[in-house]
Symmetry: D2
Subunit: 371 residues, 4 copies
């Protein structure tokens, strides 16, 4: 039964100003653009009933809209088909087609994709930006990769650290992968899969010039796996020249990404640094009364809570050098400049962000002051 | 990727005692038994990808477990199969079989069911406790009902007030239904479907001795349709001799039900009255100091907020005669008895409950006092 | 130490639209004006360290500003001075003077007041709009009332039902009060004091033409007594020609008030009915699709949750006749008009409101429809 | 009016297990004992109407009980008496006496104290554990300190970084203070006052062997300054041989303290390290399946959220090396030990804690494993 407009239409929230402290960000993801590029929010690894997932493709589209994503891909296992008794489906493109139909009236781009699935050492790999999923289903894995390349697909290695395929939980680049990379058939690597971050995967990405990826790999419901626990789904921020599929594809091949999971951001220095710079916006900087204490108001314009450590030349007047700025929050930092400066460098280490294993970026904001 | 035990294992909530007022009940449904019967929580109307729903049957089982239900039925449309391109499935029992498998390690009973679907005046009908869904798929609706009867199914009319099948939004008993009732082929009627309650449907139930039903009729996600809006799904409380499928079936045929949606409870007087009596538990009753003011502590042991109006012989000392007791909450009522009584009758009208259109039950608790 | 602007300046809440159901109104009180009058929010009964309260008068002013009140009075007991060891204060006007000073830069009016305090049967009485508290302190209660009258004070009887002064908890009009009323020295009566509502006090108000009052009678902190429990403080809504002290005084003498505590509103029919009419605003009314089901969107523009029961000629299509509209919430009601009307009467009984003991007002909204 | 037991007595919260992620700790403070000492929660700097505060002393006692404090001191300014028009009070011990009376039935110790108040360079100083406040009121500051010493008081310098007394906001040790320290008349220094932490004050404490203090310095309401913003009040954890006033005094003179404000903890290494060690409790450590991935469940048994960075020999399998454990939360960390160990060292840097300016302690937990 489809009923009329539901009983509850609107709710005008009346909240006392300034009394809310806790960082209750919504599930909606937001990140600022960086100089020269749009920051495109993508999740390029998920499943539906067309492989081993539990929902129809339209639910994945609706989840993505709730999460404010720009681009998704439904990457069904080509080889693993536990629902084949009920969904015999010779055509492996159906999941994509249904999602495309569901998304047609929304501002959400659907990337055609598939998962090529093997045991270790090859493991699991996603081919996205494919043209036809059916010919990628091959007995020999090498042929599957060759076909993906023929289709100009972007291919990335999924959860390389997975302990089920590797008792140490450390990712190891096998001869298979080395050959694929050499042949231009493997272009990226997940450093965040589901809730899991492996810093050794990040090392592999940097050493082998692979694009850094973060994905939800969702099989059930985003709500149950992430939202109801207060988490966001992991995503890959792709820095594209415009919001279009060709542009996103170009950026992925060029390695312009940052993987994000809540307050964890992992990416190459050249992209993570400008992202952080844009994420924390200096609102104003004025001296307090007759003092030499500089008040700098900064806003976190992202949907992620951010943790920083002061590394400026000057110490804070009244707060710990280690602090959090919640998603959407504005804070005032007080720098003891000892004399009145016309401009100061605010230098902050982003404690939850990594440009290499254990290496946190230090970002500098040049702050002109008002006297 | 299946990861290890998730990072967040447990969370010890530290909440200041007595400082929480708002009735933040969980999604878990709870209702007390009534004298002679178990109160069985059932949802006997829902859909999956096997008709026009959007999830695999295992999700329906997991939703039911989260809602603390006892019994569910997946009632796929036999005739309406929008996913037939991908799920050709000649066997209409698959949805049931998959749910059964998913539920096998849990304390959740699965009822085999199907929806027989036609335009007005016949409309939509659920046959539950069937043996085989396939033979119920018939060209002639009469034959479908006859087959359901042959299988000893319990059959109920879905959302009779649906304005899409009836521009006035008022349920009308057609010749078709009258004949089905007469032949013992139609036994129940939904008075609550999704978020909708129609008091004229209740009138039809009472006039025609049909079992009163409430169902979610869910197609998407329970979380999106109900939970995230702070609502529970609608259910039918079935008063069964024991928690077993035969016992639930017997109770449905005997008409022992109350339909519940949040604070709305609709049922025959003989079942709704004892349910309310058990729902509000008198904890203790003592006189305050040297006064003639009797303090009666009452607890709402259900998962529904309840609204009452005092209809006792005595007025309240310090509160409105109209009051709410939230799910799980205990309140102290103060009765001005003018002299010290050894026992008083607490009479309350349940404002959100109906035993007939616009008729709210008045329940009496005989309360012995401590002097 | 006065520190700089605090660290946390602002917080931009990002809340998903339409996902919040629970009525989380703020502590800020809001009520609409009624035809011909401003609805002035007053609390005319409270205490500070200058009698038996626990805070300096400036805290009472700050609490009132947080609650969005328009008018307050600090009504110190003239006779009961438990802090006299530390505050010998011969001048009983100090509490008023300090509050006046604190409020001077805010849009909050301070009424000069005092509490005249005796045992039963006289009990406690507030004189507000006095000129000088000192001469009201008299050995003989009669003289205190006479002096209050001489100052043209508005005088009301506090918590007449108090069981400490009356074991039955029922208010009794003594000879003393009768004489005061006759002499024009007693003009109002509290029907709500603290969290307590006594319907017999309402009866006395109506029988004796006394102004209906609601007050917090706060001694400790509003936050601890009300806010942290999710309650508002009780207030008296005064319907004044303008927001000014003379106008409020005139309205009090004229009996133009409604006492409000959360969802409980108590007042004379001639004032409570227009208040309710203004509180529920019809936003629009249109017919759904091709049906005869009329969708009426209504908004609760007050800070109180409101409970209604449908008493219209037409039943609701899809919801219980008993419903709540939270503070600030908009709901759509669906009326089954059976044919398309150009206008309908929406008649609702306000279940939590009283114009006499146990008598709930029924309010009619004439609703023109859009075809 | 004192009413009967309030209407709302109890509320049984029904919360779905495992679904709450956010760290909603209560206002109640909790910290574990350390080897050899009780961890005593103290706030030794606050004001009431007896100097420039806004509440009666009983409110300070009730606030402390809500915050679960063990010891408080009301440190009224001896010299600054803005309420003297109304409270002439020749006896400066009244605030203490009233608090003592209010606390007598509770497990809260009251320390007799006073604030000695001057302009820079001397500034503000608290003398606690005094015997009589009156003789400490002296024209010459030197005499006030001498009298405090005569009474065997513990004296600490308040908010040394206060920019109102010092335009740079940097604490400077004047000749006055140096002389006081030399004469044994100044023993401690606030490194946290209100919401303010000054790392230069910590440097002064370490250089001059002064006891590290954190205080609320509250004048208004704890609820408004801290609780409603989601903050705790700052406190000094005192490591005493037992919970008694002499024991707390001994510990203060011995410098056994850690100042705490929310997730910021500041103290000498010899006390902060064992406090952290006790704060994070290893619940169990087992290897996952057949892997070499060690699962270590750790619980934060404090009321403060804690931030850590992994500095162990081994990297985490599936999470960032930087992580938060909320107050009361249990998390499972996964260490990649590459082979099965019988015991591992878990080394974590406490990012929000300081043993010297910018120096965060690294704590090691020796963790035996279960094979």
């Amino acid at each position: 039964m489809k009923n009329l407009t539901f009983l509850v239409l609107t709710f005008i929230t009346i909240v006392a100003v300034g009394q809310e402290h806790s960082h209750r960000s919504s599930r909606s993801l937001t990140f600022p653009d960086i100089p020269g590029y749009k920051s495109i929010k993508t999740d390029l690894h998920m499943h539906t009933v067309f492989s081993d997932g539990n929902v129809w493709p339209n639910i994945r589209v609706q989840e993505a809209l709730r999460d404010n994503l720009d681009v998704i891909s439904l990457t069904e296992h080509l080889e693993y088909q536990p629902h084949s008794e009920d969904i015999p489906h010779p055509d492996r493109n159906r999941s994509y087609e249904i999602a495309l139909q569901e998304a047609k009236d929304h501002d959400l781009l659907i990337v055609h994709g598939s998962e090529i699935t093997r045991d270790a050492p090859m493991g699991h790999n996603n081919a996205v930006f494919i043209e036809d999923a059916n010919p990628i289903l091959q007995d020999k894995a090498e042929n599957a990769f060759a076909e993906a390349k023929k289709q100009n697909a972007f291919v990335f290695w999924n959860h390389p650290a997975w302990y089920a395929q590797n008792p140490n939980g450390n990712p190891i680049l096998s001869e298979f992968q080395k050959k694929r990379i050499k042949k231009g058939e493997l272009h990226g690597i997940e450093v965040i899969n589901m809730t899991d971050y492996a810093e050794e995967s990040l090392a592999l990405a940097l050493e082998n010039n692979l694009t850094i990826m973060g994905t939800s790999d969702v099989h059930g419901l985003i709500d149950w796996d992430y939202t109801e626990k207060g988490n966001h789904r992991p995503i890959t921020l792709v820095f594209a020249k415009e919001k279009s599929l060709p542009s996103v594809k170009e950026a992925l091949f060029a390695g312009r990404t940052v993987a994000v999971y809540n307050d964890l951001m992992v990416g190459r220095e050249e992209f993570l640094m400008p992202l952080l710079q844009a994420s924390l916006k200096v609102e104003k900087a004025t001296y307090a009364g007759n003092s030499n204490v500089l008040e700098i108001a900064v806003s976190n314009v992202t949907s992620s809570d951010l943790f920083f450590q002061n590394e400026s030349e000057y110490t804070f007047y009244d707060s710990s050098p280690v602090f959090e700025i919640g998603a959407g929050e504005t804070k005032t930092l007080h720098l003891k400049t000892l004399e009145r400066k016309t401009s100061v460098d605010l230098k902050l280490k982003a404690l939850g962000c990594f440009v290499a294993p254990k290496v946190q970026p230090v970002v500098t904001w040049m702050v002109p002051t008002k006297q």
